[in-house]
């Protein structure tokens, strides 16, 4: 394991029945890095995150997090070691209030955010803390889903398309939020279609094509090859 490596994936493959969704993915993330997975729909990005957190079980290959072999850990054990998962549908509980949504995961890790800190950052959530989670707008639900894993004190955030369906002003707020999390040493792996956003928050990018890593790009390369990447993504 290279020095400072937090997450390491070697030859990860994943299947849905007979259909192969990921082929021999290998990647490495250092502590405090932000990395995006870009690729068109069906390229296997969500499967990648679901395999890491342990929700997708039909996998082969080696995954380690903080030196621990993930294949031996259940989804809840992975989360308690510091993986904070935000699914693409945001996963807000309708039968729990906003505050209960925040308090559901156990607080772990060296730096769990307090409710105060979260409410200071998102006054909307404080105002609606007694409302059912389902009564929030799409943008508020997204903020709640991310705030939930920060409250938990996760050291690695797994974010599945956090900007999807968000108004530009909320995307800006998300950039601020993720950069603040980064300053506190949080590592972030996110799926993103919005290249502007991706280059604003991430350090480097993996291009996923048909379940394989086609390329690794720096921010500079993404800017230069924007047209080509957008074509890959079918945007």
């Amino acid at each position: 394991m290279p020095d400072g490596s937090l997450l390491s994936v070697e030859n990860l493959s994943a299947w849905y029945g007979e259909a192969r969704a990921l082929s021999d993915i290998s990647l490495e993330m250092r502590k405090g890095e932000t990395v995006t997975l870009v690729g068109r729909n069906g390229a296997g990005k969500s499967t990648m995150l679901r395999s890491l957190i342990g929700l997708h079980k039909q996998v082969r290959g080696r995954m380690t997090f903080g030196g621990a072999d993930l294949s031996r850990l259940s989804a809840s054990q992975r989360a308690r070691r510091g993986m904070g998962y935000v699914p693409d549908d945001r996963g807000i509980y309708a039968t729990l209030s906003v505050e209960e949504n925040l308090l559901l995961p156990p607080a772990i890790g060296p730096d769990p955010w307090s409710l105060e800190r979260i409410y200071a950052m998102f006054p909307n959530l404080r105002e609606r803390r007694r409302h059912p989670g389902s009564k929030l707008s799409g943008g508020e639900q997204q903020m709640l889903a991310i705030a939930r894993v920060l409250r938990m004190g996760a050291t690695l955030l797994l974010l599945d398309e956090p900007t999807e369906g968000l108004a530009p002003v909320l995307v800006q707020q998300l950039v601020v939020l993720l950069n603040e999390a980064k300053e506190h040493g949080v590592t972030i792996l996110l799926i993103e279609q919005n290249l502007r956003f991706a280059t604003a928050v991430a350090d480097r990018h993996y291009l996923l094509v048909q379940g394989k890593i086609a390329d690794m790009l720096t921010n500079e390369e993404v800017r230069v090859r924007e047209h080509q990447i957008l074509e890959y993504m079918g945007v």
């Binding site: 957190i53 929700l55 989804a75 809840s76 989360a79 039968t95 729990l96 559901l104 894993v149």
Partner: protein, 288 residues
């Protein structure tokens, strides 16, 4: 329709509520359609009977001891049997629970016979009748109504206002995600199963004094309870309680006006509810 008939309806309804509540909690968290729930209810009634008959232990103690013992028995069954099938289609656990129900019922029939056994509440406090307006009503039956509603309120409080309740609600709504958020759902499954079984047994203890204690008493009840849970909305706590009480009263009204239809009424209500709200009164489409 008289006050007495209305109260009889509430008594029946409060049983339904208690037993349905346990069934609903178990279904919500484990997705087990527990056909053995009626057998646990019957064991509760037998628990009260055996405690009195063999050890002269009266009603108040039975109210605590029988649900506790049968709840523990439920936890053992969960650990040994039901747990093994969670990964499979829920139909497998339904079949298993059907087998468990049949075995328990036949074992009790072998040991105690099919004949009903009388059970008498020994407490002075609960004997005699109470004036209600111009009529009288047995104190014990009033106790059953008040006590059942009290238990339902306590369960509601546990589910809505405590950390464990929050975990139950979350795991009922999104079991996988709840695990992925670091909640150790599996640690709660056995106790929650036991708790649901204990509620059925509690219903059985309360029923022991009002009907003959016999091995088939759960079998007769479970079908109605399934209808109650479906009307209330699968997995919904509030739905089970409201539908339980409502069905009790509706059946009593039916009995008063057109006795032949009384036992069918619950299924007619179920059909109507399903036509109008397929997820039940309090159910969400996701939860169903």
């Amino acid at each position: 329709m008289s006050v007495v008939q209305l109260f009889n309806g509430l008594v029946t309804g409060s049983f339904y509520a208690l037993v349905a509540l346990g069934l609903s909690i178990i279904f919500g968290m484990m997705r087990v359609v527990n056909f053995a729930h009626g057998a646990f209810y019957m064991l509760g009634a037998f628990g009260a009977y055996v405690l009195l008959d063999s050890w002269q232990i009266g009603f108040w103690w039975a109210l605590i001891l029988a649900p506790l013992a049968i709840g523990c028995f439920g936890m053992v069954l969960e650990r040994l049997l039901f747990r093994r099938l969670y990964a499979l289609d829920p139909l497998y656990n339904f079949l298993l629970s059907f087998a468990v129900a049949t075995i328990i019922q036949d074992a009790m029939r072998l040991r105690y016979g099919a004949q009903g056994k009388p059970y008498r509440v020994t407490s002075q406090l609960l004997s005699g009748v109470q004036h209600i307006g111009s009529t009288f009503y047995p104190k014990y039956r009033l106790f059953v109504i008040v006590f059942s509603i009290l238990v339902c309120v306590v369960v509601w409080f546990l589910v809505e206002r405590t950390r464990i309740g929050m975990v139950i609600r979350a795991a009922t709504e999104k079991p996988d995600l709840t695990r992925a958020l670091g909640v150790d759902v599996d640690r709660w499954i056995t106790p929650v199963f036991g708790f649901g079984v204990a509620l059925a047994a509690l219903g059985g203890v309360l029923a022991a004094a009002m009907q003959q204690v016999r091995p088939s008493m759960g079998e007769d009840l479970i079908i109605v309870i399934f209808a109650v849970v479906v009307i209330g909305g699968l997995g919904s706590i509030a739905g089970s309680v409201v539908a339980g009480l409502a069905i009790g009263v509706i059946a009593a009204v039916g009995e008063a006006y057109y006795a032949q239809v009384s036992s069918t009424l619950v299924f007619i209500v179920m059909a109507i509810v399903l036509l109008i709200r397929p997820a039940g009164l309090f159910g969400s489409v996701e939860g169903a």
